[in-house]
């Protein structure tokens, strides 16, 4: 299987600052990949390079078997910019008709596309009167034109309400099922966890981690938190039996256990007579994300 997008040892400098250093990755057809990172981590820079909007300094990038920005690549790649903007004097339908013509598609599909993103009612209104979420949907509609082989989405769900987000990811699932590779950037791991096949974490221009969520969880090896509730009147006795536990104001005892010690510790706690209940709290997605995005330079 040939990858839709291949990046190897990509380096990009702005002045003396390395915006991307030695980034390598590939995206296969039908794969949904999330690109995570703080502001300034290099997400947008990487996307602009993939789209051929800006040049790069080192490494190699292949998009659908072609050079980024070449006519062949542009014909097969669709883009949704962060804060999609359009000319305010045009209606949604006119704007989409124009984009269809630019891609060599029939302009008559415009209403159909707008209906797919729930904008059929506003098609004849000027974009200047649209809300931010509606503009974002126009952006999404134009990205759906002509079955692209690679979809590059920069913060696609910013400005969308939760219901629209769900519809949006459902659209992506359809596209991916048809073989479109999807690369989307986001700030939040919680949002993309169930909706993407693979996660890339970018920090200060370096690719810190990549893999499925469980790969990342394993690689991070963050401690598991265990919260133990003592039986009534047994708090002091339980604290004596578990000297490494911290007592919080909630009357429970808390322990942080390395992944490998988890089962042994659980067995030990459940064997204690003073225990009324216990909860195991795996590291949160945000913890895993912070772990990878902060590791650099510490």
């Amino acid at each position: 299987m040939t990858s839709t997008l291949t990046i190897s040892h990509l380096t990009k400098r702005f002045g003396g600052v390395e915006a991307l250093s030695d980034v390598s990755l590939s995206v296969e057809p039908g794969q949904r990949v999330a690109l995570l990172g703080h502001n300034g981590a290099g997400k947008s820079t990487m996307m602009k390079i993939i789209l051929g909007l800006i040049p790069f300094d080192g490494g190699a990038v292949t998009v659908c078997g072609a050079t980024p920005g070449s006519a062949a690549a542009r014909a097969q790649v669709a883009y949704l910019p962060e804060n999609a903007a359009f000319h305010p004097a045009l209606t949604g339908e006119e704007q989409i008709r124009h984009y269809l013509s630019l891609r060599g598609e029939r302009p008559a599909q415009a209403l159909d596309l707008l209906a797919r993103v729930g904008l059929e009612g506003a098609a004849t209104r000027r974009i200047g009167t649209y809300s931010k979420g509606m503009r974002q949907r126009v952006g999404l509609a134009q990205a759906l034109i002509g079955k692209p082989r690679l979809l590059v989405l920069d913060e696609p769900t910013s400005g969308l309400d939760p219901v629209s987000r769900r519809d949006f990811y459902a659209l992506l699932d359809d596209l991916a099922a048809g073989g479109t590779a999807i690369l989307l950037s986001s700030h939040a791991l919680t949002e993309v966890e169930a909706r993407t096949d693979r996660i890339l974490i970018l920090s200060k221009g370096r690719l810190m981690a990549q893999g499925t969520l469980s790969d990342l969880r394993r690689a991070a090896a963050l401690p598991v938190a265990i919260s133990v509730a003592p039986a009534s009147g047994q708090k002091a006795a339980l604290a004596a039996a578990l000297p490494m536990a911290r007592a919080n104001g909630d009357g429970r005892l808390h322990l942080d256990i390395a992944q490998g010690d988890k089962l042994a510790m659980l067995a030990r706690i459940t064997g204690l007579p003073q225990v009324a209940d216990l909860e195991v709290i795996p590291p949160s997605l945000e913890d895993i994300y912070s772990h990878f995005s902060r590791r650099d330079g510490q």
Binding site: K48, L51, L53, A78, Y79, A84, Y99
Partner: protein, 273 residues
């Protein structure tokens, strides 16, 4: 070609909604009619028909108005896309920068042609109403329309170039005003000062024709005055127009749009979104 036409259609619609079409047409019609009315006073002994006289006045008007309208329509073309944030998305489409500019040019040129035709047409109607012999001036009028469109194309191209260089609409507007003042007003003043101080020396006979041909606005004036029978009525430049062969001014009028567009495309290619 489809991509260029679609771009042109969108740009025309935008200009229509921003009232650029109405403004350009109204401006040309009002000024042309005013000139036609004012030109009605000195008549009879020039030995030319009314329309030829009006064409001479319209030439002087077009030299100022056509570049102004062209620059007003074009200064926002690229800087506006940069400011609105619409350029990066557009550039990811399978459309070349030259095609984008060609589409914009087509739309803006159509508007300019509309304005010029409406303005000159109104003046011509007035001329026919006053003097039935005006048919003799029709070829001059057609030449004026054609050369006005070419002059417009030159300054549209220049406006796109400045728009790409400035990358911000406010900066582009400043550059456009500067270009208009420089090319249309100051250039002639400087030449005039040189000619006066030279007193008919080598500067006037050798350098002046080249300097006039090098400026698209002056070449436009020369072309129309030399071609028309009414150069005597135009005064001022009439002498210079007679000294420079028609083919030279025609060539300058025809080549400038090509050069301006080539520069605009080169400047646009340097814009990184």
């Amino acid at each position: 070609m489809n991509r260029i036409l679609s771009t042109a259609g969108v740009e025309f619609r935008i200009a229509l909604r921003n009232r650029w079409v109405a403004i350009a047409v109204a401006l040309m019609v009002v000024f042309a009619l005013v000139l036609a009315a004012a030109g009605a006073a000195p008549t009879g002994d020039i030995g030319a028909d009314r329309l030829s006289v009006i064409v001479a006045s319209l030439t002087s008007l077009a030299v100022y108005l056509v570049p102004l309208i062209a620059l007003l329509m074009s200064f926002d073309a690229i800087a506006g896309e940069v400011e609105r944030g619409t350029l990066p998305l557009l550039l990811t489409y399978p459309v070349s920068r030259a095609e984008i500019l060609a589409g914009k040019l087509l739309a803006h040129l159509a508007i300019l042609t509309l304005a010029v035709a409406a303005g000159y047409g109104a003046a011509a109607l007035a001329a026919f109403w006053m003097d039935p012999a005006s048919a003799a001036g029709l070829p001059a009028l057609l030449r004026l329309v054609a050369s006005s469109v070419l002059l417009g194309a030159t300054f549209l191209g220049a406006g796109y170039g400045l728009s790409a260089l400035a990358r911000r609409p406010s900066g582009a507007a400043g550059l456009a005003v500067g270009l208009w003042l420089g090319a249309v007003v100051l250039y002639d003043l400087v030449l005039l000062a040189l000619v006066v101080s030279d007193g008919g020396g080598a500067l006037t006979t050798q350098a002046l024709p080249v300097a006039l041909l090098a400026n698209p606005a002056d070449a436009f004036r020369l072309f129309n005055l030399a071609a028309a029978q009414a150069s005597a009525a135009a005064g001022g430049m009439g002498g210079a127009a007679a000294a420079i062969p028609l083919w030279q001014s025609a060539l300058s009028v025809a080549l400038w749009p090509v050069a301006a567009l080539a520069l605009a495309i080169a400047a646009f290619r340097k814009v990184s979104p």
